[in-house]
């Protein structure tokens, strides 16, 4: 099967979209951007391929008689099982790396104790892993780094204390090791993992409502479909560092414009708030960009700002929005300088403001900045599509809706659950078009 790939190398996350010849999305993959861009795009692509396999499973299972009403449950089970499998593998890798790294001067005379402490930590992590992937379980993030990191810290603190090694030491081993693990290219044996996941599911006595043999055969069949990388287009903040030639690179403005148009053909105005930049784009009815504005060099009020706030409060990004939704009033925040986010927060707390209210104020401040950029680009037209990571944040969305209504009247606001992939989607579409227009050849 020919596939067309779009990769959006963002400042915080890297996204990939895999598309077939009919412009149908086969798979989406995301990972956090990291020091090795090449690895980040490979991981994202890898994740998109995994996701594509699930699409293929879905297509294949749909052909099996009698599964229709259980299809969603079946795939969800399979996915969870697969993720758990993946998590455990990565955990194993992290543990090995940690133990290797617990050497040198700082550990002189403490190697053994450190090793034992680490083993104890990881044993706990392994033990709690299945619960993380149980049906209905809420995870702090979808990235290994975040899940493993937060659990590691929680578990290491008491163990660090009782072992007399100290928390900082263990944290340091973790910090060192996680980048190493992250920067290793994804391991090859994807199919094996699928099969192991399936095995685990079946061994666990799951009733799939289909004969086990049929399940195995269907999965195997879908795994056998070759996914050929026909053309790749890269975009995003880090696109210039991608090892792609110029024809394989498009500006993120165009990709976001086109991506939003594909998701919602009625789109005329797009707002994208990513990690380090905010873009407002006006597109014509064909998805062609008519105008755009971006924030200047200051990173104030972008997604990373929320990241700093979350770090400061030691909670997950997912939790910021819901907390702000609890507010009874909104505290006026004038500075959205990312660096001083923590100071601003402490300042307000010291003045006796409630966390929820401060949160509401922070979200409003971010959206106010975005409103300015929108205004600069020519305002908000109907329909209005909000994309980028921050579109996942309900409090940000609420403020945006309110301000758009106040300033521009009624507008249809589109937010797609997959909005974070907008840029990658546009890139994939460009990739498909390039081939249509006669371009050939893979990357670099």
């Amino acid at each position: 099967m020919h596939t067309f790939i779009g990769i959006d190398l963002g400042s915080t996350t890297t996204k990939a979209v895999l598309m077939d010849e009919n412009m149908e999305v086969l798979g989406r993959g995301i990972t956090n951007s990291r020091s090795n861009y090449d690895t980040a795009s490979r991981v994202a692509k890898h994740e998109a391929l995994i996701n594509a396999r699930f699409t293929l499973f879905r297509r294949a299972f749909a052909e099996l008689p009698g599964v229709a009403d259980r299809l969603d449950a079946l795939l969800a089970d399979l996915e969870r099982s697969f993720r758990l499998e993946q998590f455990l593998e990565e955990l194993g890798e992290l543990e090995r790396t940690c133990i290797e790294n617990a050497r040198g001067d700082r550990f002189a005379g403490k190697e053994r104790a450190t090793r034992e402490a680490l083993e104890a930590v990881f044993a706990t992590l392994r033990q709690e892993a299945p619960a993380l992937f149980a049906p209905g379980a809420k995870r702090k993030s979808d990235f290994f780094r975040d899940i493993a990191g937060s659990r590691f810290m929680a578990v290491a603190e008491p163990i660090g204390k009782t072992s007399g090694l100290g928390y900082d030491l263990l944290l340091n081993v973790y910090d060192k090791s996680i980048i190493e693990v992250e920067n290793r290219p994804p391991s090859g044996d994807m199919n094996g993992r699928f099969l192991r996941a399936l095995r685990r599911l079946l061994d666990g006595g799951a009733d799939l409502g289909v004969a086990q043999g049929d399940v195995m055969r269907t999965v195997q069949g879908a795994l056998d479909v070759a996914l050929e990388e026909t053309y790749v287009v890269g975009t995003g903040y880090g696109r210039v560092t991608l090892p792609f030639s110029k024809e394989h690179i498009r500006s993120e403005i165009l990709c976001h414009g086109l991506g939003a148009h594909i998701m919602y053909p009625g789109t005329r105005t797009v707002l994208d708030i990513g990690g380090q930049d905010t873009k407002a784009i006006q597109v014509d009815p064909n998805g062609i960009v008519e105008n755009f504005q971006m924030n200047d060099r200051c990173a104030a009020g972008c997604g990373r700002y929320l990241g700093y706030i979350a770090d400061e409060m030691n909670i997950g990004l997912h939790e910021l929005g819901p907390m702000a939704m609890q507010a009874t009033r909104s505290v006026r925040i004038n500075s959205t300088c990312t660096v001083f986010a923590g100071a601003e927060l402490r300042d307000r707390l010291a003045l006796g403001e409630k966390r929820e209210d401060i949160m509401a104020g922070l979200h409003r401040a971010i959206i106010l900045r975005a409103m300015s950029i929108l205004s600069r680009s020519g305002g908000v037209r109907d329909q209005f599509t909000f994309t980028g990571g921050v579109a996942k944040n309900e409090a940000a969305v609420r403020e945006l809706a309110k301000l758009v209504k106040e300033n521009y009247g009624d507008r249809t606001i589109n937010i797609n659950p997959d909005s974070i992939y907008t840029g990658a989607l546009g890139a994939a579409a460009f990739s498909r078009r390039s081939v249509e227009n006669g371009a050939t050849g893979g990357v670099s």
Partner: protein, 279 residues
């Protein structure tokens, strides 16, 4: 004899000291730092103060003057408050009597202060809001690189080809660093690069206050970072400024010390005034 306490409430950590002052003689009783780390700084300060008292075998009632500095204006047990630059100047002179300028580098701000031999602030200059040259930034990067805080200095001093960060903005500078890692720049070179960028700024601060010579004492948390100290010394040499930049192992306490000593000064003065009034 006067017992005084100095409590320096910072964004990164809380520094508490106790002093016994008798005439011109000062005796340092207790010192402690407590990292704030997402706790309520004011509550933490109260705890820290009580623990310091316990270490010295004292009770709150035994202390004649509790002086706060930093963000401690609203602590309810303080007798008086002095502003940071006033206290750092005094603390620096206590630690290093030959110092004529103080470079205070804390978690968020950097300040250069020119002082006279008695610890009087002559002029000062603070970093402006945008600051990639802050301790917080360095801390974040160190974590990103998997380097412990106490290792930063050592690594930085091993650099052979440091690479400076360009941006003014810490967020964008972070991306710079990520780029560097992707280009296989080693951790020592990155850290040294940051140290050099910070030194550039700090040197600029020092120069704008003008007229410095002799010794410059670094105070605040980053004075403990000998990589920064080394970078600072290099920078001053490169820029041909004939000063000796040094740090003291108790530099982080400069603010708290200054507060305590000013507290003692005020206490004695007030006592004199009372005595006068009584007479």
């Amino acid at each position: 004899m006067t017992i005084t306490a100095g409590v320096d409430v910072g964004t990164g950590s809380i520094k508490t000291v106790l002093f016994e002052v008798e005439g011109g003689r000062t005796h340092w009783l207790v010192r402690r730092t407590d990292r704030v780390r997402q706790r309520d700084p004011l509550k933490l300060a109260a705890q820290a103060y009580d623990q310091a008292l316990e270490e010295a075998g004292l009770r709150r009632g035994d202390v004649h003057y509790v002086a706060t500095t930093g963000e401690g204006e609203s602590l309810d047990f303080h007798t008086g408050h002095f502003y940071s630059m006033t206290t750092h100047a005094r603390g620096a002179i206590y630690l290093e009597p030959s110092a004529r300028a103080v470079l205070d580098v804390g978690a968020l701000h950097g300040r250069a202060i020119r002082v006279d031999a008695r610890g009087k602030v002559l002029t000062y200059k603070m970093t402006s809001q945008c600051a990639s040259g802050s301790g917080q930034f360095l801390e974040n990067i160190a974590r990103y690189l998997g380097v412990g805080q106490d290792e930063i200095g050592k690594l930085s001093r091993q650099a052979d080809n440091p690479e400076k960060v360009s941006g003014i903005c810490a967020v964008l500078a972070e991306t710079d660093v990520i780029n560097m890692v992707s280009r296989n720049i080693s951790a020592p070179n990155i850290l040294k690069g940051i140290h050099l960028s910070m030194s550039d700024r700090l040197a600029k601060l020092l120069k704008t206050i003008g007229g410095i010579d002799g010794t410059v004492l670094m105070t605040g948390g980053l004075a403990l970072d000998d990589g920064l100290l080394a970078a600072m010394q290099e920078t001053m040499q490169r820029e041909k400024v004939a000063v000796q930049v040094t740090a003291h192992r108790d530099s982080i306490y400069a603010g708290a010390i200054g507060a305590a000593l000013w507290g003692a000064f005020r206490h004695e003065k007030l006592a004199r005034l009372d005595a006068l009034a009584a007479a």
